[in-house]
Symmetry: C2
C-alpha cells in the first residue's frame, strides 16, 4: 500500500473525520449524503490539475485521499504554492453562480476525490462547509505571515506544525509523525525559498534534534516545544466549548 494512500481500503474516513470535527452536530441527512458521495470516487494522478485558473468552477470537490497544492505560476517560470490541500479539504466551495477559479490546483500525490454533496442537503452540512471555508481563509493568512515576517527556519517549522495539526484533525498523524510526500523543492515553492536553502535549514533542524525526516516519514520530535519556540498558535475560527 503506497504510503500516500493510507486509507485506500476505506476511503472517506479522513474526510468524514474532518467534517465531523468542524461540526460535531452533522445530522443523518448530511452523513447519508456524504456516504453516497464517497461511494463515487475518481483518482487524479500527480501533476494533473484538479482545477484551473481562469476556468469555470463546475462543482465542489471533496478530497478523500492524497495531497494537492494551490499554485500560481508566473510568466517567467517562478512558482508559488498558496497552500496545501489535504484529505477532508473542499475545493471550489463558493456561494454564487458562474464562479471562475482564481488559482490552479495540482495533485502532488495521487488524489482521490468525489463530488461534494450540495450544501442544501442539510443546514449542519452547510455549517461544516462554512467553517471549512473560514479555516482555509485563516490558513491563507497564516501563509502570508510566514512569508512576510518569518525567517527560513521559522517558516519551515511553522509549515510543518500546520501540516501536523491539520493531519492530526483527520487522523493521519500519530503523535508528531506523519507521511510527508513533499519534496524539498515543493516545500521551497510554498515558503518562498530555494530548495537549496530549504535543504540547509532542514539539516540544521535535524542536527538540532527538532525533526527526523527520512524517506516519506517525518517526525517532529517535540511539536509543543517547537510551537513555543517560534510563537505559533493554531488556527481557530469557532468558539470552543469551555
Amino acid at each position: 500500500m503506497p504510503a500516500s494512500r493510507a486509507y485506500a481500503h476505506d476511503p472517506g474516513v479522513p474526510a468524514l473525520r474532518r467534517l465531523l470535527a468542524l461540526n460535531p452536530a452533522l445530522d443523518d441527512d448530511a452523513l447519508a449524503a456524504l456516504r453516497v458521495a464517497i461511494a463515487r470516487t475518481r483518482t487524479v494522478r500527480p501533476h494533473r490539475e484538479l482545477m484551473s485558473e481562469g476556468r469555470d468552477i463546475v462543482e465542489t470537490l471533496l478530497v478523500l485521499d492524497g495531497w494537492a497544492a494551490r499554485v500560481r505560476q508566473l510568466a517567467d517560470g517562478r512558482r508559488q504554492i498558496m497552500n496545501f490541500i489535504l484529505p477532508g479539504d473542499l475545493i471550489g466551495l463558493c456561494d454564487y453562480d458562474q464562479p471562475v477559479a482564481s488559482s490552479t490546483i495540482v495533485a502532488i500525490t495521487p488524489v482521490t476525490i468525489c463530488t461534494a454533496p450540495d450544501r442544501s442537503v442539510s443546514p449542519s452540512l452547510a455549517r461544516a462547509y462554512a467553517i471549512s471555508r473560514a479555516m482555509d481563509e485563516a490558513h491563507l493568512m497564516a501563509q502570508i505571515t510566514r512569508l512576510g515576517r518569518l525567517n527560513a527556519h521559522e517558516r519551515i517549522a511553522d509549515l510543518l506544525l500546520e501540516l501536523l495539526e491539520r493531519l492530526s484533525l483527520v487522523g493521519l498523524a500519530t503523535g508528531g509523525s506523519f507521511v510527508m510526500p513533499l519534496t524539498q523543492e515543493v516545500v521551497a515553492d510554498a515558503l518562498g525559498l530555494t530548495s537549496v536553502h530549504v535543504n540547509r535549514m532542514l539539516q540544521q533542524a535535524r542536527r538540532a534534534g527538532e525533526l527526523v525526516w527520512s524517506g516519506r516519514d517525518l517526525m517532529l520530535t517535540a511539536p509543543d516545544d517547537l510551537r513555543g519556540a517560534i510563537g505559533r498558535n493554531p488556527v481557530q475560527v469557532v468558539r470552543r466549548a469551555e
Copy 2:
C-alpha cells in the same frame, strides 16, 4: 475636507458603486436596505480596532470611507499586514454562527462604517457578498504570491497596481492617481520589507519615472506599462460577459 474622506458629504457612494460593480443586478430590496444601513454610520479613529483576533464576530460591517488593514502581530513585535480594506469592502462576512475573528483589523485613516444589511434581504445582495468574499480571497492569494516570489521592486509595483484597480472600481481613482494615506512603514509591513528598503525602492521607481508620490497624492505614470513589466493580471472571479 481631509483627503482621506473624499466622500464625507455623500457617504456610501463608493460602497454602493462596488456592490453594484460586483453584481449589476442588485434589486430594489437590496438597494433600499443599503440606503437604510448607510444612514446609520459610525467613525473609527486611526489605530483603533474594527475587529479583534480571537473575539467573536458580532456583525458584518460595510466600509463607507477610509482605509483599514488586516493585521497580525507577532509576540516579538514583528507585524504583518495581510491586506488593506478600502471603501466598499465588507468586514466579518461569514456564513455560520459564533464565528471567531482570525485576525485583527485596525483603522489606518478615520474609517466610516455601518452595519451591513443581512444577506437574507435579497438574493442579489447575497450574490454581491459572495463575490466580494471570493475577491477578498483572491487578493489574499495575490498577496501570498507577492511575498513569496516577487522582489522588492515588483512587490511595490504590484501592490500599488492592486490598490489602483480596487480604488478605480469604487470611483476613488482618476486615471493612475489616487489618495495614498499609507506611510512607507505601513507599506513595508504589508510587503514583508523594512521601511528603509521601501524608501530606497520608491526613490528608484521615482527616478525611473514610474510614479509620482508627494504628500498624499500618488500617481502611477503608466499603469498599463507597469502591469506588463511585472507581469501582473488583475483579479477576476466571475465570468465577464463577452
